[in-house]
């Protein structure tokens, strides 16, 4: 179907975004391709150092998966913040990718996991890095004849710290004003490396090179945290919309990153412990 009439067809997975577009009459495509029955794309697999998640896997399944809880708990954190349980039961990570909203809450974590997205058509298959997958709001490199079939990434390093923070107007079930995901490796009080991604501050989710550069080799203390958070704020290129002004979003990026790193420094942050998610 996609091979023949690709441009006119919108693949629909959980449908939590596409259904709203249908109702609003803004869906460009004339036909829908229902993927909800593709049970073979519903899996979470360990493959050596890699984790593979089938496109049809729901947030709820991600959140409940022992494999994800052990090796990629940052994705559990993110999945829990997606809408509500009724949405988590329908929505899929592939759908969040396909919809390409810069405020999508599963995407920043996939950026810091350095995930790869598998795209397949009738006679080809390719993988692209998450950073290359998005072209802009609602735009991706997916060709009309392709489907997102899988997302994969390396297991998180044991002992690494991580966070996913989102700021919405209310406490839950709100579209993010800004969000931030980070993984940080510490040894002897020094930061080996930080991977930091920011949501809702640019046309796509972005990594923050300035923050990551400032973190490398730094002692984890209030000064470095401030410098890193300021770096993240500098990298943010937000716009003003109904959910917040550009100026505020830059400040909020600072606040989110500062608070997250401060929590790690003070020992209340979250940490990867294989087999179970623990506090460190």
């Amino acid at each position: 179907m996609l091979a023949e009439r690709g441009a006119a067809v919108r693949p629909i997975s959980g449908g939590t975004d596409v259904m709203v577009m249908i109702k609003d009459g803004v869906l460009k495509e004339k036909e829908l391709l229902d993927l909800s029955r593709l049970e073979e794309l519903r899996y979470i697999k360990e493959d050596g150092e890699l984790i593979r998640i089938g496109a049809r896997t729901t947030y709820r399944e991600v959140e409940r998966s022992p494999v994800i809880n052990a090796y990629a708990p940052i994705l559990v954190e993110a999945s829990k913040t997606i809408g509500s349980v009724q949405i988590q039961n329908l929505g899929t990570i592939a759908g969040n990718l396909g919809n390409a909203s810069p405020a999508a809450d599963s995407v920043p974590s996939l950026y810091v996991l350095e995930a790869r997205v598998k795209l397949a058509s009738v006679n080809s298959e390719r993988e692209v890095g998450i950073g290359e997958f998005f072209l802009g709001p609602r735009k991706t490199v997916r060709r009309p004849d392709e489907l997102i079939t899988e997302v994969s990434f390396r297991k998180m390093e044991p002992g690494s710290h991580f966070f996913f923070k989102k700021l919405g107007l209310r406490s839950a079930n709100a579209i993010s004003i800004v969000s931030a995901a980070g993984i940080l490796k510490l040894s002897n009080g020094k930061i080996d490396w930080l991977r930091l991604a920011l949501g809702a501050v640019a046309p796509t989710v972005i990594r923050s090179p300035t923050a990551e550069e400032r973190a490398r080799g730094a002692e984890l203390n209030e000064d470095s945290i401030r410098a890193i958070a300021e770096g993240a704020s500098t990298d943010a290129r937000p716009i003003t919309d109904i959910r917040g002004t550009a100026e505020y979003r830059k400040k909020a990026v600072f606040g989110l990153v500062y608070e997250a790193l401060y929590e790690i420094m003070s020992g209340s942050g979250k940490r990867v412990v294989f087999g179970l998610e623990g506090r460190g």
């Binding site: 839950a172 917040g244 606040g255």
Partner: protein, 745 residues
């Protein structure tokens, strides 16, 4: 009945479950948008997609010929008057000559299917000549673009007493501040909707979510040009209203379509349509200047109140009155000068919303009281205790204060609350506690108000109680049933309520202005007295005694060793062909004349409330997290404590939404921006704070069994109390609601 019998009630002061709650949790209660009558047509409204324009042409010929189309109506097809509005019938039922807001109805369609209706709407030829949209009150008052030929000020009035400039000259401190509050959407979960049909005898039945069946009936009759007797309106059940269904929404359109097609028609707005065309709370801009002496006693208060009415008036004139009445708070204000404006803009129509006018003015006067307290170094509860009016004193509008002891007690309770000691933030979380006081009149002030109700004694063992103030969730069916049970001394299970149906009940008026307990309660009690006096005569005659010798207790009349139940008496009356239905009309006590410059100020009966809000502010993100709210209120005697405290809690959370995240907004060209639950964000369970509600002991002899009202009091003081909590936490004074994160970092 007096206050001393307080503990003796059998069915009052009791938290019985709602009479309709089991049906509700089982999904068996059919809301009026759940009914799809046999053979119904689908109603659809074509709306303007510009905010301000001259109408050059609306042609429907092609649409009328489209498949499945049963009617296409424009202003030309209105048999009666093309206007409605709760106060002034100036709102076009269908646009004529001008369009004044985005979403204004241009044409109505009835079709066999919704798809056909929408397809036909596309075929209607609409030519509009755009005019500049005026969205701001200051711009509107400059009168460069006229929204209405008469000008952009819908109502202007000055209300004054004493010599303000003299008072200011003698004052220790005079503060002037400008406060703003936003438009707020009701966001009831059931959007506006219902159905209508014409019966065999030509009566037009309109069954739709609403708050005032008899007003709906009157408005429909004017537009259809037929007698009100040929119209029946039913409003129960309604899935939430809060004022947003007080003026007409779908009712008149439904009636027009059913009347024209003679078929059942369903018309239900989508959420987005509700977001675009539904009503909202008036935005306010209030500049207030207050003079005090060294001890913080108020000497004078001046206010310029500007309310944004949107394109038309709806309840605007009375909203302005409530804002005038509440701008002086519950305080002793020797002199004041209130300059009040209701201004047209090309925003949608502002109308009733819980407390209308009061939350707006309350934010100004109560924020001012908090600022004065801070300037003078006086405790914020103490400054209020120094200024509140005591029983017997004359209020600022010449009204004598009755039963306000409750406010003083509520303030004392607030002062000794442990909440003040629980504010302890750490790190980037700063915490503070704020206080504000609310006053709100019950009912329509000096406007004449004669609510009627009926009861019917059913020989099979029920007493049917009929009144028209709709129960859209407040629990009035249950509360009024408790009052009836108390009066009759029979169990609540023997009371059956028919609510909000003009076919069954006389006119008890609307559910609004916290008036249902007072109006329906008093009228029902009187109707019961009427029934009992008639039944007493019947009982006496059967006993061979005189009426005065007959005792009544627990549903029976007794004489010596003989007794007869009201149901047996009803059976005998029925055999004689006599009516078992008894009606009564209650005259709401009021002052004979309004204060000069007002329509309905003052009221005779007031509710009072004191809100304490503890909030944490994330100093880095600017995000406010409300931890705890305590609310001390004087609502008179409490019929059902659980339902009443639920009214306060629900109001408080709507107030917190209003104060933190809710703001209905328009684009620069007048298009509403946040019209659904995705973009217009309301609190969720996670945002709900710990709440504690306490009713101080109070009894108002003007109300039924000492009860006053409760619906609106919770929402009113929340904004000012939260703003003070934020100030205490951060040192930042926010004078424009909502307190969004970007105002704090």
């Amino acid at each position: 009945m007096t206050q001393e019998t307080y503990e003796l009630y059998r069915y009052l002061n009791r938290s019985i479950p709602r009479l309709d709650s089991e049906q509700k949790v089982r999904g068996e209660l059919k809301y009026l948008t759940d009914v799809y009558p046999e053979g119904m047509l689908h109603g659809y409204v074509l709306r303007s997609t510009v905010a301000h324009a001259r109408i050059l042409e609306i042609s429907t010929e092609e649409a009328e010929r489209a498949p499945g189309i049963r009617a296409v109506l424009t202003y030309k097809d209105i048999p009666g008057i093309n206007g409605y509005g709760a106060i002034v019938p100036e709102i076009p039922v269908l646009a004529y000559e001008r369009v004044r807001y985005y979403g204004e109805p241009l044409a109505l369609i009835a079709a066999d299917s919704m798809e056909q209706a929408k397809a036909a709407a596309e075929m209607i030829k609409v030519r509009l000549e755009p005019l500049p949209a005026v969205l701001d009150v200051d711009e509107a008052m400059a009168e460069k673009v006229k929204i209405h030929d008469k000008g952009n000020v819908a109502r202007h009035t000055v209300v004054k007493r004493g010599d303000v400039s003299k008072a200011e000259a003698q004052a220790h401190l005079v503060l002037e501040r400008t406060y703003r509050t936003p438009m707020q959407k009701h966001m009831f979960i059931e959007p506006e909707g219902g159905y209508a049909y014409v019966d065999g005898s030509g009566v037009v039945h309109v069954l739709a979510g609403g708050q005032s069946p008899y007003r709906d009936k009157l408005q429909i009759s004017r537009v259809l040009g037929i007698s009100p007797e040929m119209i029946r309106v039913k409003n129960y059940p309604t899935g939430g209203a809060f004022g947003g269904k007080d003026d007409a929404t779908v009712q008149i359109h439904l009636a027009l379509l059913a009347y024209r097609t003679r078929k059942p028609v369903r018309l239900a707005w989508t959420r987005e349509e509700s977001g675009i065309a539904g009503y909202h709370r008036t935005a306010s801009k209030i500049t207030i200047r207050t003079a005090v002496d060294r001890e913080g006693r108020l000497l004078s208060n001046s206010a310029k109140i500007v309310l944004d009415s949107g394109a038309y008036q709806s309840f605007g004139p009375t909203i302005l009155d409530v804002s005038i009445e509440t701008i002086n708070g519950p305080y002793r204000v020797p002199s004041y000068l209130i300059d009040a404006y209701l201004v047209y803009t090309n925003n949608g129509i502002a109308s009733a919303f819980r407390g209308f006018g009061a939350p707006e003015s309350n934010f100004a006067i109560e924020s001012m009281m908090n600022e004065l307290a801070a300037e003078l170094g006086i405790d914020p509860v103490e400054i209020r205790l120094r200024n509140i009016l005591r029983t017997g004193e004359e209020g600022p509008f010449g009204n004598v204060i009755r039963n306000s002891a409750g406010l003083e007690e509520a303030l004392n309770r607030a002062r000794s609350s442990g909440i003040w000691r629980r504010a302890n933030g750490s790190g980037w979380i700063k915490e503070g506690v704020g206080v504000a006081v609310a006053i709100k009149g019950v009912g329509f002030g000096t406007l004449p108000d004669y609510p009627s109700a009926a009861v019917e004694v059913i020989p099979e063992g029920k007493v049917r109680v009929m009144f028209t103030n709709p129960d859209y969730g407040q629990g009035v069916i249950t509360g009024i049933a408790q009052l009836a049970a108390e009066r009759l001394q029979i169990p609540v299970s023997e009371i059956e309520v028919i609510n909000a149906d003009t076919m069954h009940s006389p006119d008890t008026g609307s559910s609004s202005a916290s008036r249902t307990t007072l109006t329906a309660g008093s009228a029902v009690v009187q109707a019961i007295d009427e029934a009992l006096s008639k039944l007493r005569v019947e009982a006496a005659s059967s006993f061979g005694a005189s009426s005065s010798e007959v005792q009544y207790s627990g549903g029976r009349f007794m004489y010596r060793d003989r007794s007869v139940t009201i149901y047996e008496l009803a059976r005998r009356l029925r055999q004689k062909g006599r009516s078992l239905r008894f009606e009564a009309t209650f005259e709401v006590p009021r002052y004979p004349e309004p204060v000069e410059g007002t329509l309905e100020v003052p009221h005779m009966m007031y509710m009072y409330g004191v809100a304490l809000v503890r909030a944490g502010v994330d100093a880095l993100l600017g995000k406010v997290n409300v931890k705890e709210v305590e609310f001390y209120a004087d609502i008179g005697n409490v019929i059902n404590p659980s339902i009443a405290s639920g009214q306060v809690e629900g109001g408080v959370v709507q107030g917190l939404g209003y104060a933190t995240i809710e703001e209905y907004r328009y684009s620069d060209d007048g298009r509403p921006l946040n019209i659904n639950f995705t973009t217009y964000v309301v609190p969720t369970a996670r945002d709900s704070p710990e709440m504690y509600v306490e009713f101080v002991k109070s009894y108002d002899e003007l109300g039924p069994y000492g009860a006053k009202g409760v619906g609106e009091i919770g929402i009113i003081p929340v904004g000012a109390a939260l703003a003070e909590a934020v100030y205490r936490a951060t040192g930042k004074r926010i004078r424009d609601l909502p307190i969004t994160p970007w105002k704090l970092v």
